[in-house]
């Protein structure tokens, strides 16, 4: 926001935002679920950022003399895989792929979905009908399968995974944004902004968008969890980021052939995926409580 904010036409959103932030902080103080979620997410983000310093070994260094050694032995805390690569290091480096794809894909979904939803909700008429029709149809595609088909055409690559997953999220974001816009556009401060002669674009970016945001944040957080699961599934099928780069999904896939003699290869990265997704889901659930005014009142009353 710019420095002109204070003396601008509508002060309602600002006051709302202040109350909103207070509510969020309040809930984080009270809601253990949201705090635990945030804690897990922060740990995973730190692990991803510090991967070069945290990983004890080169994640792609092959050493056939130490193939499939079990967890807890000679400098390999989580053991090694069928090519003698250190599992802990692979999982640490794999966090980069999962988090990047998860976050960027949701970012793509938010950007495209918000644009479509804002346009549809604000302009109405034929534009809205056309956009919503396409979105209704897009929602008929099972998420993973749509992502698979897009990867099939674009080819397996990290950027393409982000695009594919992002596209599959777009319709859902567009629906949420449109729904918020429909209720916001009738509100008094948008009316007053229009009365003082603000143009459409300005009303959209200054008033409608910031207010549609709160409804979207919860969904975005929960979507990062789903995006991580989809990325892992694509990698597991061999259609994500190509090897030898480690991803959580392809480590599980590597271990598949050695499930009986060396189950840890597949089991450990799966646990890490679950832990991370759980973090985002907890965080999202906690945020939902914080942003739902009904619940907020309830808790403050207690």
């Amino acid at each position: 926001m710019t420095e002109r904010h204070g003396n601008d036409y509508g002060t309602a959103p600002e006051a709302d935002q202040n109350r909103f932030m207070k509510g969020v902080i309040y809930i984080f103080r009270r809601s253990r679920v949201a705090s635990v979620g945030l804690f897990i997410v922060l740990i995973m983000v730190l692990v991803a950022l510090l991967a070069p310093y945290l990983a004890p070994h080169d994640p792609v260094a092959v050493d056939l003399s130490i193939r499939r050694i079990p967890p807890g032995s000679e400098g390999h805390l989580l053991g090694t895989d069928h090519m003698g690569r250190d599992l802990l290091s692979r999982i640490i480096w794999g966090s980069r792929v999962s988090l990047q794809v998860g976050i960027v894909a949701v970012g793509i979904g938010i950007f495209a979905g918000t644009t479509l939803g804002l346009i549809a909700g604000f302009y109405r008429g034929t534009v809205e009908a056309a956009i919503m029709r396409v979105i209704d149809i897009m929602i008929c595609f099972p998420t993973l399968l749509l992502a698979l088909a897009i990867i099939a055409v674009l080819g397996p690559h990290m950027t393409n995974t982000m695009i594919a997953v992002g596209v599959t999220f777009t319709p859902r974001f567009a629906r949420i944004v449109r729904a918020s816009v429909l209720s916001i556009r009738e509100s008094e401060y948008v009316e007053s902004a229009r009365a003082v002669g603000m143009n459409n674009l300005r009303i959209l970016t200054r008033h409608v968008f910031p207010n549609a945001l709160s409804g979207m944040i919860v969904f975005a957080t929960l979507s990062v969890g789903s995006a991580i699961l989809i990325e892992a599934s694509l990698s597991f099928l061999g259609l994500g980021v190509p090897p030898p780069a480690p991803t959580w999904g392809n480590i599980v896939a590597d271990g598949r052939r050695f499930l009986l003699p060396s189950p840890w290869i597949s089991i450990t990265p799966g646990l890490v995926i679950m832990f991370t997704v759980l973090g985002f889901n907890f965080f999202g659930d906690g945020l939902r409580d914080a942003l739902d005014p009904r619940l907020r009142g309830e808790r403050q009353a207690q």
Binding site: C140, P142, T143, L148, L154, A232, S233, V252, S266, G270
Partner: protein, 313 residues
């Protein structure tokens, strides 16, 4: 009712056409040359041209589109590059396996998830409610391929209760069920978590309504209030949501089929992608979306049995 059904079936046609159009454009408009991707960048020009002609890719896009849509009306999904038979007959061959798997998983999810959610709501904040909530939240974060491998490790490899892979002998119901059990439970467990969570909050919502208070003040027993009044109303949004969630179930079925080496639509689409068989990817993606449409049509129609207020005029 029959008129309503007929009208719904007619309404579904434009959506199905829209779905087919989007499938076509995903495969044809995304930059990149499918034929080059298939044969490799340094393939001889004549070979590229041959394949292009064989697939009809030398025709203008509009002609290809009309041929594709026209074919659909005749039940023709085009010709596969890798499979020996037309795509439609491949789909017909494997579709029962996928329906069997997804249907059983759905059934497991509903028959166990609905009662669990109701019990949780009625015994809100009890030990059972807490444990079930925690398990379903954690379970919901677990990737399906990992759950499948865990099941395989413990129940097939260690305990030997279930066969490792395959789909059993066709036509032999015992064998089919024996092979279906573990994959269906794998998929179904996730549904139980999802359905129980939705049902719990839906029942709690309904229990707070005025007509429930009225029913209670009339002196009706708690059992009748919950099962006659609350559950009937609470189940509708849950059924709708499980219809919308059917897509996730289909995605899970794809992964499950790959892991348990079962024939099915999932195997078909993944083989299509790995073999760069674009007509196959196009055809199977379309069928998946149509299954989703059809299931949601069934959901709409099934309301008749649940909610007498919904009328079909």
């Amino acid at each position: 009712m029959a008129a309503y059904l007929g009208r719904r079936l007619i309404y579904i046609i434009p959506t199905a056409l829209g779905v087919a159009t989007i499938v076509f454009f995903i495969i044809h408009l995304i930059p990149g040359d499918p034929v080059l991707a298939m044969l490799g960048d340094d393939a001889p020009t004549e070979a590229v041209e041959d394949v292009r002609r064989a697939l009809g890719l030398d025709q203008p896009l509009s002609t290809q589109y009309l041929q594709f849509i026209g074919g659909l009306f005749r039940g023709d999904l085009g010709v596969s590059i890798t499979a020996p038979r037309p795509i439609a007959s491949e789909v017909r061959r494997v579709l029962p396996y996928t329906i069997e798997l997804a249907g059983t998983a759905m059934l497991i999810g509903l028959t166990l998830g609905l009662p669990l959610g109701i019990t949780q709501a009625v015994k809100r904040a009890s030990g059972l409610d807490f444990v079930a909530s925690v398990i379903s939240v954690i379970w919901y974060a677990a990737p399906i391929f990992w759950v499948a491998l865990l099941g395989m490790y413990f129940f097939s490899l260690r305990l030997g209760w279930f066969p490792l892979t395959g789909a059993g002998e066709r036509g032999n119901i015992t064998s089919t069920l024996y092979y279906l059990a573990l994959p269906a439970i794998t998929l179904g467990l996730r549904r139980i978590a999802l359905v129980a969570r939705m049902m719990r909050s839906s029942v709690l919502d309904v229990l707070g309504q005025d007509y429930i208070r009225t029913a209670r003040s009339k002196g009706l027993s708690e059992r009748i209030v919950v099962y006659r009044h609350a559950v009937k109303n609470a189940v509708i949004p849950v059924i709708t949501a499980s219809g919308m969630e059917f897509g996730t179930l289909l995605g899970g079925a794809v992964i499950t089929e790959i892991i348990f080496v079962r024939p099915g639509m999932g195997r078909l689409i993944v083989q299509g992608i790995l073999g760069r068989d674009y007509p196959m990817v196009q055809g199977t993606l379309l069928i998946f979306a149509l299954i989703f449409l059809f299931v949601n049509l069934l959901v709409d129609v099934s309301y008749a049995g649940i909610d007498p207020r919904i009328r079909y005029d």
